[in-house]
């Protein structure tokens, strides 16, 4: 999608930050005056250094944190007017360390939100089957297992399935593939790209991986010291003159250059 068509189409905003700031109780400012929107079906990558405020911004979307100033709107309603529990069940949540419940089987882990929402047992079970299929894990083989019996990549697949369980329209992901080895990470990123195409969720993901942003995101928001430096489409990002964006791109290109250098050896 080029920026022109993007502007031409009326874009239904699903998540909107309006001049959002966040301060810790001790007065330290984590986010300053953040304003951006995420449209339906878009994937926004929040990119930046550790401590730039990416995770803080993410946690404001499902009311794990409330803004000190400004408003975060989800489906045009301020998060502070949402019931926090209802809001969170409306939004899938995937974190780097997965956080599967060690005392639950894979099936129980995935079916948590449907069970909290009191779905009938049969519907829940069918949904778990469908979701394990979706993340390419065999139901008969994995449903009864416990998280410690799975590899890191399999655990993250379960984490994604769990987040999708009640079919939430929005998905938040905090460095979802960050703890995986590069090969597993690549496999999962590729599969997730496919999944995203099929499901059309609105996604906000925190990452410090430029490759991941370019692969999965429709928009890249660059955060520095709690401030938004800019929002770019992937092609815009690659051509950006802004120093921080350019530094990320140069860093990313370093690998391509190493590859070229080795070809001529």
């Amino acid at each position: 999608m080029t920026p022109e068509t993007d502007r031409a189409l009326p874009r239904e905003s699903i998540i909107e930050f309006q001049n959002v700031s966040y301060r810790l109780p001790n007065g330290q400012t984590i986010l300053r005056d953040l304003t951006f929107t995420v449209g339906r079906g878009e994937t926004l990558a929040l990119l930046g250094r550790s401590g730039a405020g990416k995770t803080t911004a993410l946690k404001m979307i499902n009311r794990m944190l409330d803004p000190s100033e400004g408003n975060v709107l989800v489906e045009s309603k301020a998060t502070v007017s949402w019931n926090a529990i209802a809001l969170r069940r409306h939004i899938g949540y995937v974190i780097q360390d997965v956080g599967l419940f060690p005392h639950f089987t894979i099936e129980q882990n995935i079916s948590l939100v449907p069970r909290l929402e009191r779905w009938p047992a049969e519907r829940t079970r069918a949904r778990v089957k469908e979701l394990l299929d979706l993340v390419d894990l065999n139901f008969d083989k994995f449903a009864e297992r416990y998280p410690h019996q799975l590899s890191g990549g399999q655990r993250q697949r379960v984490g994604i399935a769990r987040a999708l369980a009640a079919d939430p329209p929005i998905l938040l992901m905090d460095e979802p593939f960050g703890a995986l080895d590069p090969l597993t990470r690549g496999e999962l990123q590729k599969e997730f790209q496919e999944l995203q195409r099929r499901l059309g969720k609105t996604i906000v993901m925190v990452t410090h991986d430029v490759g991941e942003s370019l692969l999965l995101a429709t928009h890249i928001a660059l955060l520095e010291d709690g401030k938004l430096t800019g929002i770019y489409s992937p092609p815009e990002f690659l051509a950006a003159k802004e120093p921080m964006a350019a530094a990320y791109v140069a860093n990313f290109r370093m690998y391509e250059e190493a590859e070229r250098a080795n070809e001529h050896r």
């Binding site: 499902n62 794990m64 926090a84 529990i85 209802a86 809001l87 969170r88 069940r89 949540y93 974190i95 780097q96 360390d97 997965v98 956080g99 599967l100 419940f101 060690p102 005392h103 948590l112 939100v113 909290l116 416990y146 410690h148 019996q149 984490g159 769990r162 987040a163 938040l172």
Partner: protein
Amino acid sequence: MNIVNFFIRHQNEILQATLQHIWLVGIAMLLAVAVGVPLGIIVTRHPWLSKPILGGANIAETIPSLALFGFLLPVPWMGERADRLVIVALTLYALLPIIRNTSTGIESIDAAVRQAARGMGMTQNQILWQVELRLAVPTILAGVRVATVLTIGIATIAAAVGAGGLGEFIFRGLAMVNNQLILAGAIPAAALALLADSILGLLERRLRPARQ
């Protein structure tokens, strides 16, 4: 040979005393769990209460048992019956390991698990019952085990204030310089402690979720 004969001859009295001992410790442990687990949860929710609660339980722990019985004697409702007094004293001794293990058990849960639970929209109560307590149960049981073994020993002193139990034989044996009598109290008490320790230990292992 003598001691075996002695045990056989007095089996009814010994059994009676053992049951009384189990009753004193059992009621005290039920009370200690009923009070200690909620206190342990409160400590995790309000860290500023941790010092007064754990400190209080710690002080109770350091009072010599005979002195504690003495302190409780003038307290109106308690002083009326020896077993009431002993049960309250034993409960106080059992509190510290239970409170401490409850809070440790909850606090040692992987932060990612708690974050995921919150992020998926579990309520505070659901997180407490379905995640925190369930994962803390083995640690809480370990505290109950320590407390039970401790109170089985301390309960022998209950006989000093007339609450009965296996301490009866020990005190009588001491007064009469009769080793058989002392052993008639000490052996069942030690056996009870070992039995409680192994049963609770088994339960604790069974309930521990498998980890890597």
